[in-house]
């Protein structure tokens, strides 16, 4: 039977089911198929904090959203074009996010009176007209799955568990996905349990074949590969990219990596990943708590390794005092905060950006710490390397702020060539750096001045090692590791005398050292490239400034505003402390500055304090990425304000996008048109 094939430029699918239904796996496989096909894509897994919330209930619903396109996209999409709902709770929990006309593929098997009640439905929504605004495809996915895997003699329960693969097969057919990678995956994953393996393969193929033969779907869709810069790609999540970035940091600096960590969502996967790479000389230490994790990392750094600690917001709170110790002892250290909803335990599995001020100020005393933040899952790799560069070059703890969305979300990532990666030189101290007179104890020469001629210090001179003599350019102190003869020294949390580094309670010295530690962090700005200002015609009066994972929604919102014919500029910060040198000038060039954040205005507060700019906040803390469409409205309003014009962002007629965005078979254009070129 030959079916009609329609071309689409982009589709957003959300797979939703019970926590035990394997929705994360299903979404992940669909993503891998789409990546292999060459689409650009972006994903948003969303799961409950409970491992197995009661079956069939709203809290137990787990979902995975994937946005794939024939062009470059920035976000997992605001609203799904297609919802795959495996039970009544999944339907009910996700319906509110669907635009009119969206398609719903729903497994009718669980729509029993009992399950409907569990999901809070008084009546069966498939039987009244409550879904009349959607294109609903009610299918007995479970029943068809059980039928398809009959021959393998599984229990009914085990047989039914393959229903996610049936759904995946069906959706793979509907969107013309290549099936080879999933077949290979299933063969490998279930190699040890042949009947389960065969049942999953059979269900997957049955789903595909059902699509091909059923009357329910009269069209299938084609989404061409997206043009992307030349290179080799893979799909990658933020946590994986971050772990790889840390390993790369170890390789590029020639240092051994030492991770001290205590498990916490959503950071644990970095610990899991790094523990697999001992062959790179990576030591992973699962500590008794967050304090011990960072303590061990500091000890490792003191001994000449690259100390790293990974955690989320609650863990940072516990590590504060130790971060202060690393500030005082001026040792290289990486502190990774994969932010989640707070305060306290907050929303462990949801995303947020509300730890910026904690990273900036969350310590006693004047304890400046450089802060970097990745903008996308793949960017976690490069940002981790940048954090290593700063930590090692400037002998300082560095805070890296990722978040739950970046951690678990994924995107195609161009695998860098090793030649593109920075070289990082630990530059260990090997020689004394100071000469004193034995006659009166006065300093005769310091640091770079200790030339070979003074090496053989004369009888009335003594060569010493001063742990707090600084490099003139970076203000970094020497890193002398145990085992280096002649450089024995003591460091610690008490204030250090300038240069010699002995305990000092001298008021003027303390004032000097406080300012010097701040100046050192400020010096990092000298090593930063100019900011990229995205202002195509240079006509914008409004600048949107962001940091971290809001890059995607901000970029999509900006595109949408531009597409409707208006001007807006965008700058995204990787470095939050210190700010890049040119930021102040850039801010001055615009009449209005909008700062979208998943917090109540933390970057905005820093910008206002530092540059006296009347920045406007755009803030949501819903545990989810910002919605590009809503953000576009906010940008539009500010543009209207700044330029004294009317701004209308309603859907421009787009010649390149025709037809539908999903399996609706009817109308249903996308509601996130902003996320296009």
């Amino acid at each position: 039977m030959s079916k009609q094939v329609k071309r689409l430029d982009r589709v957003i699918i959300r797979f939703a089911g019970d926590s035990g239904d394997g929705m994360q796996l299903t979404g992940d496989r669909f993503t891998q198929e789409s990546a292999a096909f060459g689409n650009d894509l972006s994903t948003l897994p969303n799961f409950p904090a409970e491992i197995r919330a009661p079956q069939g209930t709203l809290p137990g619903v787990s979902s995975f959203q994937v946005h794939f396109a024939d062009h470059d996209i920035l976000t997992p999409g605001d609203a799904p074009d297609v919802l795959v709902a495996m039970n009544p709770a999944a339907l009910r929990a996700n319906l509110g996010d669907l635009p009119k006309g969206a398609a719903i593929v729903v497994d009718t098997h669980d729509f029993t009176a009992r399950n409907l009640t569990k999901a809070g439905y008084a009546a069966n929504p498939l039987e009244d007209d409550s879904l009349s605004e959607y294109a609903v495809h009610p299918l007995d996915l479970t029943g068809m799955t059980v039928e398809a895997v009959k021959e393998f003699g599984l229990s009914r329960k085990d047989a039914a568990r393959a229903k996610n693969m049936f759904a995946l097969g069906l959706l793979s057919w509907l969107y013309g996905r290549p099936i080879e990678s999933t077949i290979a995956f299933l063969q490998k994953r279930f190699a040890k349990v042949p009947d389960i393996r065969d049942a999953n393969l059979a269900a997957y193929r049955a789903g595909w074949n059902f699509g091909e033969t059923t009357e329910t779907f009269v069209v299938s869709y084609e989404i061409k590969p997206a043009p992307m810069p030349v290179g080799t790609y893979r799909n990658i999540t933020g946590n994986l990219a971050l772990a790889y970035g840390l390993i790369a940091g170890g390789v590029q600096s020639g240092l051994k990596l030492f991770l001290g960590s205590y498990p916490i969502t959503p950071a644990s996967d970095i610990l899991h990943e790094l523990s697999k790479h001992k062959a790179f000389g990576v030591t992973t230490f699962q500590a008794e708590d967050e304090i011990a994790g960072i303590g061990a990392a500091i000890g490792a750094s003191f001994s000449g390794s690259l100390g790293v600690t990974t955690t989320s917001g609650p863990g940072i709170a516990l590590k504060s005092e130790s971060i202060g110790l690393a500030v005082m002892t001026e040792l290289p250290l990486l502190v990774v905060d994969v932010q989640r909803g707070g305060p306290s335990t907050g929303l462990p599995t949801k995303t947020e950006q509300a730890d910026l001020l904690q990273a900036m100020f969350g310590r006693n005393g004047e304890a400046p710490v450089p802060i970097v933040a990745p903008r996308s899952p793949g960017d976690c790799f490069e940002t981790a390397l940048e954090a290593v560069r700063i930590a090692v070059t400037y002998r300082t703890p560095v805070m890296l702020l990722s978040d739950g969305y970046l951690a678990n979300g994924s995107e195609p990532w161009r695998i860098p060539e090793l030649s593109e990666l920075p070289e990082i030189d630990p530059g260990f101290a090997t020689e004394p750096n100071h000469v004193v007179s034995l006659r009166d104890g006065s300093s005769l020469a310091s640091s770079g001045q200790v030339s070979p001629s003074t090496n053989g210090a004369s009888a009335d001179e003594k060569r010493e090692f001063w742990p707090y003599l600084r490099d003139e350019q970076t203000l970094a102190r020497p890193w002398a590791v145990p085992g280096t003869p002649g450089l024995e020294h003591r460091i610690g949390g008490l204030e250090k005398g300038d240069g010699h580094g002995n305990i000092s309670y001298d008021p003027a010295n303390h004032d000097f050292m406080v300012r010097t530690r701040a100046a050192k962090v400020e010096r990092i700005a000298e090593s930063l490239p100019p900011l990229e200002v995205d202002d195509p015609e240079g006509l914008a009066k409004v600048l949107v400034l962001g940091w971290g994972s809001t890059y995607g929604p901000i970029g999509a919102g900006v595109r949408r505003v531009r597409k409707a014919g208006y001007h807006v500029a965008q700058v995204h910060l990787r470095h939050l402390n210190p700010f890049p040198r040119d930021l102040g000038d850039i801010l001055e060039r615009y009449d209005k500055v909008l700062i979208p954040e998943m917090n109540l205005g933390q970057l905005a507060m820093l910008i206002r304090a530092r540059y006296l700019v009347d920045a406007v906040g755009y803030n949501h803390v819903r545990g989810l990425p910002l919605k590009a469409m809503e953000l576009a409205e906010a940008i539009g309003n500010l543009v209207a304000d700044a330029e004294g014009i009317e701004v209308d962002l309603s859907d421009p007629v787009d010649a390149t996008t025709s037809g539908t965005a999903g399996a609706s078979g009817t109308s249903g254009t996308s509601s996130t048109a902003g996320d296009q070129r």
């Binding site: 790609y233 990576v282 230490f285 000449g304 002892t329 003869p485 024995e488 003591r490």
Partner: protein, 372 residues
Amino acid sequence: MTTDLPQPVARSGIELVPTLTDEAAPLTGKDFTSDQEVRWCPGCGDYAVLKAVQGFLPDLGLRRENIVFVSGIGCSARFPYYLETYGMHSIHGRAPSIATGIATSREDLSVWVVTGDGDALSIGGNHLIHALRRNVNMTILLFNNRIYGLTKGQYSPTSEEGKITKSTPMGSLDHPFNPVSLALGAEATFVARTIDSDRKHLTAVLTAAAEHRGTSLVEIYQNCPIFNDGAFDAVKSPVTRDEAIIPLVHGEPIRFGAPGADGSGSRGLIRDPATGGVKIVEVGDAPDQVSADDVLVHDAHSPDATTAFAISRLTDAGRLHQAPIGIFRQVSRPTYDDLARAQITEAAAGVTGSRSERLAGLIGAGDTWTVA
């Protein structure tokens, strides 16, 4: 799922630490003395321990640059500043975790922790017990003065109940820890107790602790003349100490007190069938005495810590009149740091290519596609 880990090889705690060459002039206590002025109160027990450590370190024959002292916060925590080795004066209670990072990342260092009763047992209690159970190769010197010295005299987790201090004018309410019992309960492989003023015993214990591969916990009774003077007089004064100290020497019957008919202490320890613990008896041939042959012979190497624990319970929890002194337990178990390094070696065995080549392989693996 579990896996079998490599079996322990009995090795010295300092086996992999570089030693001085035979030609090099031997180091002296002076070589281990830094140029910093020591600033404890006059008469503080910490002086004696510092002197003993400076005097004993040269005997290890190690290179000075391969020795690291880490401390937390407290009076005793100033210790590293006075030693001409590598050192870190860290933050309150956290020294064991910092030392764990040092010991695990470097097998060629001799790692020492200096901590107080508050530092180790109050704020740092968690790190202490976990270091002990992991058996990381380091020696922990626990300066127990049964008081918070640096913060000027509040009661500590080893202070006796009812102690009147600035923070407890009507007497402290909490029951104290016995550091030795705690360490034994935390699966420690080397646990000892010694006294600041007994340089000979202190040195012998430190030598054994340094040579032990794994976490060695040495509780040092340390007098604080300012805030808790005389806390250990019973075990220090020549008048009382023979009655107060229950000396533990591996392989020897545990006897103490004034010499009895056979020239050894008139009192001894035997097992107590009623409690399963141990008890003190008069040793001799009289009807109400226990025969010397029945006195418990100290076995620090017993795989079972039960007897060592029972002996540790003979320490007074209240004001100290009596305490076992010596090495309670000294057994061999694989160390965390050795095992961690062994896993790295095992993982790296058979891998080929430079780190850079392998990095390219790692990031380039998985389902990839090429855009030409």
